[in-house]
Amino acid sequence: MAKILTKNLNLWYGDFQAIINVNAAFSGNKITAIIGPSGCGKSTLLRIFNRMNDLIEGVRTSGEIIVDQENILDTDADLVVLRKKIGMVFQRPNPFPLSIYENVVFGQRIHNSIRKSELDSLAEESLRSVLLWDELKDKLHKSALSLSLEQKQRLCIARLVAVKPEVLLMDEPCSTLDPQATQRIEELMRELKNNYTIVIVTHNMQQAARISDDTGFMLLGELIEFGKTDDIFTHPSDKRTEDYITGRYG
């Protein structure tokens, strides 16, 4: 069943239309990749799923995004509830200048939803799920800024997982990492999809082909093609998709 369903979704930055009539169904417990050249609107599409675009002035939308039977674009949608449910991993690893521990428990501290005594086990559980626990268990109170880029990005995922979201939005999460670190993060994503719905935006077509179950190809704000990753990469139905995948532009 579709976890996120968009219906005739449009988005404008002022007069510029960045997303044009997108209809797509993102399945639960799967990895969906959105690919396309720079400026095609793929990051914008990702950021609308937890309403991060609200932070930009002059953004307008039309259409619907249905998550769990509710239209999250409703003006009275509860953004706190939405963002707890649908979290985001950013392009640049961006831990807070706090300790590793405080980074992980930040969300729960804000939401004040679990008892103080449970924070320790939450931190352990979250760090385990991103395979950082064994490396970091003895330096939880060191600054998160002292970690390597890959560890920082894992920590950011742990910080998100600790809020117990259902959907992870990933905006080119590996673009600042080297190939080995990228591979390990991809392994992590495969593991995480058992528990989460993952939508990833990527420049890297090989990455999309490697890890995703479904793929959407965007161009100039339109979703040109959307379907099973194997189908998109082996026999795309649209000429433009084929041109992009075979490297004719992008």
């Binding site: 932070l55 707890k84 640049r92 961006n94 930040f106 910080r159």
Partner: protein, 283 residues
């Protein structure tokens, strides 16, 4: 004669260096002269005793105490207002006419001569609000004067917190206020403290704003409430230098040295804080 770029460069460097060195000279001279002439006056009695014999002998204790009171009063008024204004300007204000007007006002507030603050304080706090010449009036006047310093440095500190921190915090479901409270403000604290301390230094050293609003020529006892007048170091220095005949040069320079020491050590604290936190924070 042929142009020689190497020589032109050397000459240019020479004049640039000369101009820069010229900055050091007056600072050095001021410090050296004041220490040389004032240090003999400094002893425990000078710092802790009341002025005696028409301020020609004894100490400057009430002036030191008055200056400390005034600075504390000015900060407790200016820091909360300045900080709240800075948070509004940095985090909430949209780019519109009102915001531009506020920013323009702050710039102009910083440019108002200090004697005008004195007159304004006299008219508003002393006369209109009937606080009289008092520590309260003087503190409020000094507070107004350092408000732009605090606002400007706090806005700068808040805006230097990376936008990505705010984004992450919001994306984790924090509200805007939680984000400001938990992420933005803590990371801006060093900058805010630095600006506040620079404001303290400024408030401690000014004469004109306290002239009409609080400063007493001579008081036989220490102030007992915020509605009392007080002596203050800058004004005391002015008094014993120009209003009282036959004051020993040693006492005048000693007073100047105490004032200079207070202002410089306050500024030094600001520099140290800024330096420490700069080393600590890397993003």
């Amino acid at each position: 004669m042929k142009r020689n770029p190497q020589r032109t460069q050397k000459i240019a460097f020479f004049f640039l260096l000369l101009a820069t060195l010229l900055i050091i000279v007056p600072v050095g001279l001021i410090i050296v002269i004041i220490i040389q002439k004032g240090l003999p006056a400094i002893n425990w009695q000078f710092l802790t005793d009341m002025p005696r014999q028409g301020m020609r002998a004894g100490g400057i204790f009430p002036a030191i105490v008055g200056t400390v009171y005034l600075v504390l009063g000015a900060i407790s008024f200016a820091l909360p207002i300045g900080l709240l204004a800075a948070v509004y300007l940095s985090e909430y204000a949209r780019a519109n006419i009102l915001t531009r007007l506020i920013k323009l006002s702050i710039v102009n507030l910083a440019g108002v001569p200090s004697v005008v603050y004195g007159l304004f304080g006299l008219a508003l706090f002393v006369v209109f609000f009937k606080f009289g010449a008092s520590i309260l009036s003087g503190s409020l006047t000094l507070g107004l004067m350092i408000l732009p310093i605090i606002i400007t440095s706090s806005v700068e500190a808040l805006e230097s917190v990376p936008q990505s921190f705010r984004e992450v915090s919001l994306s984790l479901g924090a509200s805007k206020w939680q984000t400001i409270r938990n992420i933005v403000l803590p990371n801006a604290v060093p900058g805010i403290i630095t600006g506040t301390i620079l404001g303290v230094g400024r408030a401690a050293g000014e004469t004109a704003p306290i002239l009409f609003t609080v400063a007493a020529f001579y008081l036989p006892q220490l102030p007992s409430s915020i509605f009392d007048q007080a002596m203050a170091l800058p004004y005391h220095l002015y008094v014993i230098s120009t209003q009282v005949p036959n004051v020993d040069e040693k006492i005048r320079y000693g007073t100047a040295l105490v004032l200079l020491f207070m202002v410089l050590s306050v500024n030094l604290v600001a520099v140290i804080i800024r330096y420490k936190f700069r080393k600590l924070k890397k993003w």
